[in-house]
Symmetry: D2
């Protein structure tokens, strides 16, 4: 259901004054006002049960613009974490700060939604998990694709037994264009930076961790990416204890747009989640029959997913429902990214503990 409609239906049941209502809202501090922080700010502001209270960013003008846009305050991260009136923080800072901020925020008694990946270092992420567990605070990792209506519907159909027992998963995940090589150099590499989403998708759809990881990769899109020690085109094969197989294909460049598809073959059928297109117009001329391109990049494709992700986080915190993506899920994806990085470099299969 559309967020606004849901809100209205809620309102039908519960007419209270605006002031009283505010007391029940999640008061949110946003750490990081960059591109992805801006996306989250819209959803925090538009969600009827959350309120953007404060924004921090190392780059003050970014924080100021965003705060002004939503009537929020600009503060430092430390101030936000220290404010007892803030119930939750959304961590949208650079990856190297994630573990520290998760630890600090949970230690301050706040619920956390942290952008992926948890950390580039698996060891560091596991240490973070240790500390978080002691606080008992909820931490959700921002694997937004789980909330894409298409992938969610595919998962529901699979869980509902519509294709029997799943046997083979294929994930196609191509970006429209590679990021700057300067970004590549600090990204942790394609497997940790880009394919991390697809590893989570495999975990999400297969429901368990694989037992072997194989990877082949090359820098065929841009030799400079290769010179930086990374790959831009890769295929990873995962096998599972019961014989199931998953394949993930990544390319940093699909000039026609963001290509995000999933196929799951089962004993009684096949499920495919195809691309969203910019519109439904089809033009037939002597040149052929032309449809619109896939929505361009993650902001276009996953905007509804980000809203649904936030809604799920709010519901988990306010209503006490189960967190749909946990810190453990973030670490599971990271385990696969580490293994794939190693497999790609050595050419050998990596076996994972069961």
């Amino acid at each position: 259901m559309h967020a606004g409609a849901k809100w209205l239906s809620f309102r039908k049941r519960c007419v209270i004054s605006w002031q009283v209502w505010e007391d029940y809202m999640l008061k949110v501090g946003l750490l990081g006002a960059g591109r992805i922080g801006q996306v989250h700010a819209v959803n925090i502001a538009n969600n009827p049960r959350s309120k953007l209270v404060a924004v921090s960013d190392v780059h003050s003008p970014s924080a100021e613009k965003l705060a002004a846009a939503y009537g929020a305050e600009v503060r430092t991260s430390e101030e936000i974490l220290a404010d007892p009136a803030i119930n939750a923080v959304l961590v949208a800072t650079s990856t190297d700060t994630h573990s520290d901020l998760i630890e600090a925020a949970t230690a301050s008694g706040k619920a956390v939604l942290c952008e992926k990946p948890v950390d580039l270092s698996l060891t560091r992420a596991e240490a973070c998990l240790e500390k978080v567990r002691k606080t008992g605070q909820p931490v959700m990792i921002g694997f937004n694709r789980r909330f894409d209506p298409n992938f969610a519907a595919l998962k529901a159909a699979s869980l509902g037994g519509e294709i029997g027992k799943s046997e083979m998963l294929s994930v196609t995940s191509f970006d429209p264009a590679p990021p700057p090589v300067s970004y590549i150099k600090v990204s942790g590499g394609l497997y940790r930076d880009m394919m991390i989403h697809d590893f989570d998708m495999a975990n999400f759809l297969m429901g368990e961790r694989p037992v072997t990881v194989r990877a082949v990769g090359s820098a065929i899109v841009d030799p400079e990416i290769g010179a930086a020690g990374d790959v831009d085109t890769a295929v990873v094969t995962l096998t599972y204890g019961d014989g199931r197989i998953a394949v993930i294909k990544n390319s940093r460049r699909a000039v026609y747009g963001y290509d995000q598809r999933v196929e799951l073959l089962g004993s009684t059928g096949l499920l495919q989640a195809n691309n969203m297109l910019e519109n439904t117009v089809v033009k037939s001329t002597t040149e052929g029959v032309v449809s619109a391109k896939p929505t361009f990049f993650f902001l276009e494709r996953y905007m509804p997913a980000y809203a649904a992700e936030w809604e799920a986080f709010v519901a988990a915190i306010l209503d006490g429902t189960e967190l749909p993506v946990t810190l453990e899920d973030g670490i599971s994806a990271l385990v696969l990214a580490e293994a794939a990085t190693q497999a790609s470099q050595t050419g050998k299969a990596v076996e994972l503990p069961g």
Copy 2:
């Protein structure tokens, strides 16, 4: 561009304090808090340049719920129209009040966005236009489909010459299920109530009024609709001065969902705007290859269109851009609805003045 993104990009250029910003916003009074009023309330509230100030409805609880949801006040229509701090009103009341409210609001110096149709009576609507003209106030009619991204893209492609000179238009417009017969009886009939949207679509895409109108209709979905003097299935054929032809097909019942498609054949190609589907998942089993259904009804299909419509209204009023749908457009559609009603009843073609 996504509304939130647009807003952020605007904010990049213009950082001002929240208080000052409010002075520049459109202060809106919403007349009517029913189903469609609720849709508009979401868009008024989420649009960064408009603020829902007051809501009225003959059914007070509806007005109260809606007002509470957005921090607005409940007032009478008269109070809203009398408040000089309100710049614009959105008329979402029952059709029989439209003309009166448009006249009163424009006389009070307010900009108006009024739901379709202007009136069930063409004569009354024309009288209303007369009065509005004297006030010089902007009145936009809520033909939301013009703002559907698919139809808008089709129109843009046609205007851009992508299929040469247009020759034949086909509009398929089926509702998922008929409304109650009690509604049918006061609706003005299928041509005025339902096909009015498609007449506007024809005007929008063909760029001029037709010269003849032919209509055939029957009550094949529900004989009670026939007993009430209306039809539930109809085909209208329009011819244009230059030989172009348009066909509009309506049915009150398409059990698979809201079927909203347009095809425009031109001298160098064909443009089709197809249905939006609930999601992109395709399931292949021994039963066949199953895609999702079209989005269910107008709230699902046209939610983005309503937001874009409101954005266009706000822009027209605040930025002084041209009103994308005028009161004259509302009357043009009504002219066709009247002619089709007559043609359907007499079995004869109706000729329109040039």
Copy 3:
């Protein structure tokens, strides 16, 4: 089932010598060796139960080429009709000779498959029917589209109750390019020459004749067609005794190829038969997502239909199964073509006897 496969399965049951087999084959005379005659020649030759014995054509080289290609003889029509060893004739001559040849062939005791239309004159066609009835010989009219696998599957689904009771039929039928004006002048006009196929499709899918016919047409593709007294773009609306409605759209020019689609809305669903594409390749680039065009024209689109049509004729004659398209069907379509021609010229609805 593929024709060759069917033949093999037949052979599994019945192994006889080639010579004996020949005695059971339909010996066919082909009258007319033009474009459509050549199509039929391939099917007659490839069908394991028919043999092309003789070919006639007023243009001898055409007959000679075709005869040589299949080891048949060149003869005059009179010689073919007089040969008692020939069981069946396929009439693929110009329309003005159809009635005479049908009469002569049936009088000679031959089964007839005659290309559409029966005649340009309804009166003449009805006289022909009278004579044919007296001979008791089977005459099938070549409405090839009934044998298109897509339209046949749609019909089967409709008959099977898959969409409940049918309510509204839409036929889209566009040629890729208009024929020469010289052809237009002797064609009998768009309704008799081109839309005749669609009238038969309406009869085929609706299962009864309509009660009113409305038509609008114009010469918008080529003014010379208008100067020749014909139209090139037309929409016909048919109503049925029980309130059902059919719409037929014709254009002489769809530059992207042969556009042949059917939609049937019923009480529990919608059936659509879409275009066949040249291939299934889809190309995604920065320009968009490009599919192949529809198969170009009737030879490409309906080649399997022509083969199935011939197979149905052979089966009807050799196995005594019911003729799938009768001379009466040919006349029913002609009745609609006459009515549409009149409706288009007068601007008034034409009522048909029940």
Copy 4:
């Protein structure tokens, strides 16, 4: 172009008597009258430039039926190979006889079209190649999928530079149902029996041999296949010298039909060849939007490909055009099948000589 149409156009240029024509036809002996032999018999018979002269099969009734159906003679393989009037043989016998028959036929001066695979033993196949080279006779291997209009169009688009430089190939190739385990046991295993087609497709589309082969496989569809030492679900990853990557996915069971798709990502776009569907009918009901299934199995999907394959063979022999698939191609595919079998069993990547 349709085969019949091509033939007619040929005839336009060359009118000769039937008897003389026969002298120019390819006289063909068919070795093997099983399922695939029957498919070839139809194409040999329907092709205007080839004539089925004789058929052999170890199971006489099969040979007799097929011979009778086309007016051919039943002979032993030895008799066929000894007959100087026969120019070409089509080898459609069991795989273990292929090498011997290819050698014998070429030694007898005949052109050969042999079904895939050349042999289950790479060593034996290479020995066969040695002998064939000495005879100078043309030998074509029946990789029918190269002649599928969709894959051929994809290849043409790729060669034409429509997606720039190719980077990543994906081949999806699922059978509708596994063969009997008794067949599996003598098949040589999935990689040699089933994926051999896909290895040839990779060679065909990538234009060179890969340098490494990785394979994972399991018997998840049917444990008895596993007990027989084979797999039924497998993914193979190929890497190329220039960094390109190919992925092949196989399953012995896709209950919805024969799933045969190819995707090729390039520097300026993506090419996809999708499944052929049984028909173009789409049914929309409350259950969803249902399209037809993919054509069931290889006989349905690849019937046009088999005809085009035969036409290409005839043209190569009679017109001296280049053989489109050589014995060397057959061996190249076998090399990959051997490597994949080894990789699947050892879990390690197999490196191939450049």
